[in-house]
Symmetry: C2
C-alpha cells in the first residue's frame, strides 16, 4: 500500500474508533498484550536479525542495548499495555453543559483527535507503548520506527493487529506501520488524513519534522533547562538539586544545561559547586564574573548559552538578581523546564510567574518533568508547543472535543428581529 | 519598526501580561473603552477618509456598509470591550493539582499563549473586539486589518494604546498593528515570536495563511455544513430547520450547503422543500435520485458537493440510510457543523457520534454554531482544527497551561535504584 492509502485506511479506522466503548477498546488492548506474551519467540527471532545487522553496521553500544529484547522486556511491554487499560478513558468526557434555551442544550464532550503519525528511533518498546495510548484514546496510529529495529517492530505490529482482530468491531487498521524514509516524506504530506505528528528523537530530527510538514507537531526539539540559585537559597538543597538536574541522566531533555547563581551567594556556593561537579567529571564553563571566582574555568561563548549539551558539560553564570535570571531564561531557554532554588516564597512565585516554560519548579530537580513522575500514567511525549498540549503529555494530549447540540426544532431566526427569543445560557 | 521588531516588542509585552492581575487587565480594558467613547469625532474623521477612498475605488455596497462607522457603532465597540471585562479571566485557573510525594506538589495552571497575530478583513469593529479578548486572556496581539479600513483602524489602535498607557504596569505594546501585505508576509515568518495566527476572511485568504506559515493557525477555511433529514423526522421541524440553516444568513460559514434526505421520506418532503426554497429564490441542484422526484432540477456535479456556495444555492441528495448520510458528510463536509433532523434518539446519537465535525446537532439549525449563541461571551473565531480548540472559540482558546512544581529539595535520584522512594500521586 502507498502511504496515502495507509493514511486513508487510518482515517476510516479513526471514524470507527471514535465511538467505540471503553470496554471494547480495553478488550483489544488486553488482546494486544496477550499476543505479545504468547509470541515471545517470534519477537526474539526478529530482534536477533536486527541485532545481527546492528553489530555488522557497528552501531554504538548504548543503542544496541536499547534495541536488545529479552523475555522480561517483552513481558514489560505487555504490562505496559495493561497499565494503559487501567487508565481512565480520556474520550467521551463531558467538559461542559449549558442550556441555551428551553429544550436546546449544548454539551462539550472530549473526543479523539483522529489519526496520529508517530515517528521514533530505535527502541522497539515504543511500538506497544504508543499504539496502546492511541487506541485507548480512540485514535488510529501510523508508526514509523528506527531502521535498526525494523524486523522487531514489524513482528510486534503484526502481533498487535492480530490481537485487535480478535475483538469484533475494532478495526485492525487502528495500528499500522510504515518503514522507509521515503514513506516518512509522504506521511508528512498527508495533512488531509493525519491530524497530529508525534516525533521522538534527536533535536535535529524533531526540528526537521517540524520544518517539513503542515500537520501539527507535538514535541520538542530542544531541552535547554536552567537552575537558578537565589541569594536566599538553602545551600544544601541547591547543591543536591543542581547535581541531580545535571547528573541524574545527562542525556535527557530535562537535564540542566545552564546554571545561574545570584551574585550575593556566588563566592560562597560556586567553589563548592565546581568541586562537586568536577568530582563527577563535568566540564564547566563560566561567564566573566564566574571566572573572577574560578579563574581556571574556560569562558562560555555566546552560542554556548543556547546549546543543549546532553552531556557532562555545564555553563555557569552569575546574575545580578531574580529579574536578570528570568530574562536570561526566557531568552536562552527552550521553554522546557526551569527551577529556582530559594527559601523565599515570594521570589519563588516571581520566578514561576515570569519564566515562560512548560514546567517551572521551586526547590526540585528539573528531572521531575516527566509523564510518569507527574502521575500522568503514561507519556506520549514532552511538548514545548504553546498550543494544544504543553510539558509532559499523557492521554489528555490525544483528545480534543466536539460540541453536541440537542434541540427540538429551534431555528436562529426566532432569536433575532422583533419579538426575538432570548438565550438562557444556564450551566446545566 | 520592522515586523520583526514589532514581534519582539509583543513578546516582551506578553511576558509582562502573563502575570498581571485580572484587576489591572480590567482597568486597562475599561480605559480602552473610555478612550474610544471620548474620541468619537477622531474615529469618524478617519473613517470618513476610508469611506471616500472606498467610494472612489468602487467597493461593493455591503462592504461599505460594514466599513461605515457612526457614534452608535463606536459606543457598541466600547460596550463590547466592557462585556469582555465582565467575563471571567481564563488565565491563572488551576486545572489540576497532585501531590507527587510529601512536600512535592504539582499544579497545572492555565496561562496565556503569548503573542497572537490576528489578520482580518474590512470591519473596524474587529480591532477592539480582538484586542480586548487578547488582553483579557493576557496575550499580546499584532493586528492586521483590511486596507479599506486602514485609517479607521490606525486611529482606533492608537486610542486603545492611549487607554492602556493610563494604567501603570500594563505595556501599551500589548496591542500593535501592521499595515501592509508585505508586513503580513514578514509576520508569517515570525514563528519564534508569534505563537498563534488567527485569520478571519474568505476561504482563499484563510487557506493562504494556513499554507504559508509554520505558526499554528486557528481558523477554518471552509464551512460545508449539512442537514440530514431522517426517515423518522418531524416534517414541520425539518422544513423549519432546513430553511433556517440555508436562509437565515446564507453567507455565513455555518449556513447549509448540502441537504441529505432519507429515501423513505424523500417523495413526501422534497416537493415541499423545493417549493419553499424556490419561493425564497434558492437555486437547487439534485442528485440522480432527487431528479426522479423533481425532474426540472439540474444535476449536481461531483465537485459541487464539495463547494461552499455562501449563496442562495443548495444541493439536495437522497441517501439510503443514516450510514450513507454519515459517510457522505465525513467525506464531503468540512468538519464544521452538521445537523440531523429525527425523532429517534438512537439514530440521533449514531449521527452525532459518527459525524466527525466540530459541532454536531440534533433538531436544531446549523446557524446556532456561534460563540455568542453558545454562550461563550465572545468569539475569537471558529476553528475546524483537530488540536487545541475546535468549533466556536472564546477566551478559552487563547490560553494554554503551565506546570508548577513546589518542592523542598527533592531530587530524582532518590526515586530510583535501591531504597527508592515511591511517588504518592494523590490528587490534592
Amino acid at each position: 500500500m502507498t502511504v496515502s492509502e495507509i493514511a486513508k485506511e487510518a482515517n476510516s479506522a479513526a471514524l470507527i474508533l471514535a465511538h467505540l466503548s471503553t470496554e471494547l477498546k480495553n478488550q483489544a488492548l488486553n488482546e494486544m498484550a496477550n499476543a505479545l506474551e504468547a509470541n515471545c519467540s517470534a519477537i526474539l527471532a526478529a530482534n536477533q536479525k536486527d541485532l545481527e545487522f546492528a553489530n555488522k553496521e557497528g552501531i554504538a553500544k548504548p543503542l544496541i542495548a536499547r534495541l536488545t529484547l529479552n523475555e522480561d522486556k517483552i513481558r514489560g511491554m505487555a504490562q505496559g499495555i495493561r497499565s494503559v487499560v487501567a487508565l481512565p478513558d480520556p474520550s467521551g468526557v463531558r467538559k461542559s453543559a449549558m442550556e441555551l434555551d428551553k429544550d436546546l442544550t449544548l454539551y462539550q464532550v472530549s473526543c479523539p483527535i483522529g489519526v496520529i503519525g508517530a515517528i521514533f528511533e530505535s527502541r522497539p518498546d515504543a511500538v506497544p507503548q504508543i499504539s496502546s495510548l492511541c487506541l485507548k484514546s480512540g485514535n488510529a496510529v501510523i508508526l514509523k520506527g528506527g531502521r535498526e529495529a525494523q524486523n522487531s517492530n514489524k513482528v510486534i505490529v503484526n502481533l498487535l493487529q492480530e490481537g485487535i482482530k480478535k475483538v469484533n468491531g475494532v478495526p485492525e487498521t487502528a495500528v499500522q506501520m510504515i518503514e522507509t524514509r521515503e514513506e516518512v516524506q509522504d506521511m508528512l504530506k498527508e495533512e488531509k488524513n493525519i491530524n497530529l505528528i508525534v516525533p521522538r528523537g534527536s533535536n535535529e530530527f524533531v526540528k526537521y519534522i517540524q520544518d517539513n510538514t503542515k500537520i501539527p507537531v507535538l514535541g520538542h526539539s530542544e531541552g535547554i533547562c536552567h537552575n537558578y540559585i537565589d541569594n536566599e537559597a538553602d545551600i544544601e538543597k541547591a547543591l543536591r538539586i543542581a547535581l541531580d538536574s545535571k547528573l541524574q541522566y545527562p542525556a535527557a531533555c530535562n537535564a540542566m544545561e545552564n546554571l545561574l547563581v545570584h551574585q550575593e551567594i556566588a563566592s560562597k556556593i560556586i567553589p563548592q559547586l565546581i568541586q562537586k561537579f568536577e568530582e563527577k567529571g563535568v566540564s564547566l564553563l563560566g561567564c566573566e564574573k564566574t571566572r573572577e571566582i574560578a579563574a581556571n574555568l574556560p569562558i562560555a561563548s555566546e552560542s554556548e548559552w543556547d546549546e543543549e549539551y546532553n552531556d557532562l558539560k555545564l555553563s555557569v553564570k552569575i546574575v545580578e538578581d531574580i529579574d536578570e535570571a528570568i530574562s536570561f531564561i526566557n531568552c536562552h531557554g527552550s521553554g522546557h523546564t526551569d527551577t529556582i532554588i530559594t527559601e523565599n516564597s515570594e521570589t519563588a512565585e516571581k520566578f514561576m510567574d515570569g519564566v515562560n516554560s512548560a514546567s517551572v519548579m521551586c526547590n526540585a530537580s528539573t528531572r521531575f518533568a516527566d509523564g510518569f513522575r507527574y502521575g500522568l500514567g503514561a507519556e506520549i511525549g514532552i511538548s514545548t508547543n504553546k498550543t494544544h498540549a504543553r510539558g509532559p503529555v499523557g492521554l489528555e494530549g490525544l483528545v480534543i472535543y466536539k460540541y453536541r447540540v440537542y434541540g427540538n426544532g429551534q431555528i436562529v431566526s426566532d432569536y433575532s428581529g422583533e419579538n426575538a427569543r432570548s438565550f438562557t445560557h444556564k450551566p446545566v
